[in-house]
């Protein structure tokens, strides 16, 4: 494999030892060693045949005739969506009582769903922004899917607090709009911060996504055969020409918005966590909640990315672009974020226990041995034990196993929010208030409806937009060659 860039760079020089006296005195003698076979970095693109080939490879799914699985999937998603709409209509016309919420568990499934969906919505920005800033080029193959996932997940998430307020027609009270009643929202409330955080997150995610899409939309415009698609792709590509003067500003803007999105993604889930942590309730009030929630969001988001990407890559024929190495890397990130979540979970428990406050101690005991012990067990099993399988390379490369594990992680993270929300609320400070919370069928169907919303949008995205960031992929594919060439020159010059 000497023709590989990395191999080529180093084969020519394999001087094996340095003079001992030089070494002892510490004089510099960097030598070039061929990268050993086991440590060679695996390719990010399989079967690369040039820049045009990347376009063909990615656009193949968009340009072929509509497959039947797509129609069937859309049908199911639309059915769920209609179900969700009916449920919301029932809720709005009847009242919050159709859900299982009631004293003392005033926040039930709706809040859990909200936190769960918004958590999923974080992986997209994480992959696209944070990994971009970390110069992890592998993100390029999956960032578009993840960003789309983000936007649709945030839409689903935003739905729940809106319908949870009960009288939806007063939802505009949350906005600081000057009206004749002169009543303003008060900004001490975490729910107000939520409004701004989620609105900003949705807007910036869409902007970031769209910014990445513009050059690819131009590509689709240039490839489009039908006038109607050329018109629409042309309209949304804003007349992008691929001029280097445009690219020059574009790259800078992309970098800045990536930085902003990184700062944003951390803040949004921190603010969501403050919905809980700003209170005085044991189990909610913990200073570690902001970073804990952020890690949890990334963890669940990566779980969802795996759940989506594994089918997408085979259904859309993207195996050459989204390789097993990508899955492998996503699994590793999932494992890492999962470990941070586990750390926070354990630390929270330790501090609650050793802190010696009776209410905190009771909360921890109740979490493990109380009526919701099964939820706690599920969290431990799905969230902390299941991802441990990712330590093994064999598991990471077995797509079926990874997919099943990713589903378990999704379930585990949902259960974790359940433990936090319901587990802390159902036994409050006054024992006569204690109760056992159960969801109703409306809760379940509304949640199913949010899946309908999510998948309807997601399937439309798959069909009509480039699933992979083509221009970025071209950029890294080609730049690598030139970087390799230039660094070879640099090394030659040094010699």
């Amino acid at each position: 494999m000497n023709s590989r860039d990395r191999g080529e760079l180093s084969v020519s020089d394999t001087r094996q030892h340095v003079e001992p006296e030089k070494e002892a005195r510490g004089v510099l003698s960097p030598e070039l060693v061929a990268t050993p076979a086991g440590l060679a970095r695996e390719p990010l693109i399989r079967g690369y045949r040039g820049l045009g080939w990347i376009s063909d490879e990615v656009m193949r799914f968009n340009e072929r005739s509509t497959p039947s699985w797509w129609r069937a999937g859309l049908l199911v998603a639309l059915f769920l969506l209609v179900l969700g709409v009916v449920m919301v209509a029932y809720l709005v016309t009847t009242g919050i009582g159709v859900w299982g919420v009631g004293h003392p568990v005033m926040w039930g499934w709706a809040t859990i769903n909200f936190v769960w969906w918004i958590g999923i919505g974080h992986a997209g920005t994480l992959i696209s922004a944070i990994l971009f800033l970390l110069r992890q080029h592998w993100r390029t193959a999956v960032n578009r899917v993840a960003e789309a996932m983000t936007i649709f997940a945030v839409l689903c998430a935003a739905l729940f607090p809106i319908i949870h307020v009960g009288r939806v027609w007063y939802i505009w009270w949350l906005l600081p709009i000057p009206t004749s009643n002169a009543v303003w929202p008060q900004f001490h409330s975490p729910l107000m911060w939520d409004v701004f955080a989620i609105a900003t997150y949705l807007t910036v995610s869409v902007l970031f996504w769209y910014l990445g899409l513009v050059p690819d939309l131009a590509l689709m415009r240039d490839r489009a055969r039908r006038p109607v698609s050329r018109f629409f792709y042309g309209l949304f590509s804003l007349g992008w020409t691929g001029s280097q003067r445009q690219w020059h500003h574009y790259e800078k803007a992309y970098l800045i918005i990536a930085g902003l999105a990184t700062a944003l993604v951390v803040s949004v889930h921190s603010i969501v966590s403050l919905d809980f942590a700003a209170t005085q309730l044991p189990g909610w009030h913990s200073t570690i909640f902001p970073p804990y929630f952020v890690a949890g969001a990334m963890f669940s988001g990566f779980g969802m990315v795996l759940t989506l990407v594994i089918p997408v890559r085979s259904l859309c024929g993207l195996e050459n672009v989204i390789t097993k190495r990508h899955i492998d890397l996503i699994c590793k990130v999932t494992l890492a974020t999962g470990s941070i979540v586990a750390y926070a979970f354990v630390v929270e428990g330790c501090y609650a226990w050793f802190g010696g406050k009776p209410y905190e101690r009771f909360m921890i005991l109740n979490r493990v041995t109380g009526p919701y012990w099964w939820a706690f067990l599920l969290v431990v099993a799905c969230n902390f034990l299941a991802p441990q399988a990712f330590w093994f390379r064999k598991v990471r490369l077995n797509l079926r196993a990874v997919w099943v594990l990713s589903i378990l992680i999704n379930i585990g993270m949902w259960m974790e929010r359940f433990v936090i929300v319901v587990g802390s609320l159902h036994r409050d400070f006054v024992p006569p208030n204690w109760s056992y919370y159960r969801p109703t069928w409306v809760d379940v169907c509304t949640f199913a409806g949010s899946f309908g919303l999510f998948f309807a949008f997601f399937l439309l995205f798959l069909r009509y937009l480039p699933v992979v960031a083509v221009s970025e992929l071209k950029s890294i594919a080609s730049n690598c060659i030139s970087v390799c060439a230039s660094s070879r020159q640099r090394l030659d010059a040094r010699r």
Partner: protein, 189 residues
């Protein structure tokens, strides 16, 4: 447009002529060509390709993009608007005692102000990008060119506009060919 003669070599610019488009074989070739074109003193010209070429900014002599300043000031303005707004609403116009906290506190105003700063910064960056790149632009003379659609695919083009003071159809065409262009054609308006 008639023949101009105010410049020494600016002749032969036909009516309705947008410029010359030169196709290059690959990124390395176009990079070297850009270097030569900058040295030759062209002003209204550009390189087109499917992705941003590293080193092209230096080769074309482009300055640091000012788009960051849009973002910076957007963020500052967003932050100030949020803090001032919250102060006015919660301290002046409609004070509410909540949880024993001061009516206005920089701590509880911070999350909202932070979000608004990011919102404004992102929108300003995006807007700044549109301003600086002159987008959206629906019509462009190059869109009419037969092969230009390949610029988003895998081809690299250099376009020299006829508005350039150094532009001369034949001479520039010859110059482009000497610096490695594979194919040079005239683009009409």
């Amino acid at each position: 447009m008639t023949t101009e003669s105010n410049n020494t070599n600016s002749v032969g610019c036909g009516a309705g002529e947008y410029g010359l488009i030169a196709e290059f074989a690959g990124p390395g070739e176009v990079l070297r060509a850009a270097e030569r074109l900058r040295v030759a003193g062209f002003r209204f010209w550009d390189v087109f390709g499917p992705y941003p070429l590293p080193g092209m900014c230096a080769a074309m002599g482009l300055k640091r993009s000012p788009v960051g300043w849009f973002g910076f000031f957007g963020g500052v303005i967003g932050f100030i608007i949020a803090v001032a707004g919250i102060w006015y609403l919660n301290e002046v116009h409609y004070p509410l005692p909540i949880g024993g906290k001061p009516f206005f506190s920089p701590f509880s105003a911070f999350p909202t102000a932070y979000e608004l700063a990011i919102l404004f910064a992102a929108i300003a960056t995006f807007g700044g990008l549109l301003v600086l790149t002159g987008l959206p632009r629906v019509r462009h003379p190059l869109f009419g060119h037969r092969r230009f659609a390949l610029a988003t695919r895998d081809r690299f083009f250099v376009v020299i506009e006829s508005a350039d003071p150094n532009y001369h159809r034949e001479n520039t065409q010859r110059f482009l060919e000497t610096i490695g262009a594979v194919r040079v054609e005239v683009v009409m308006m």
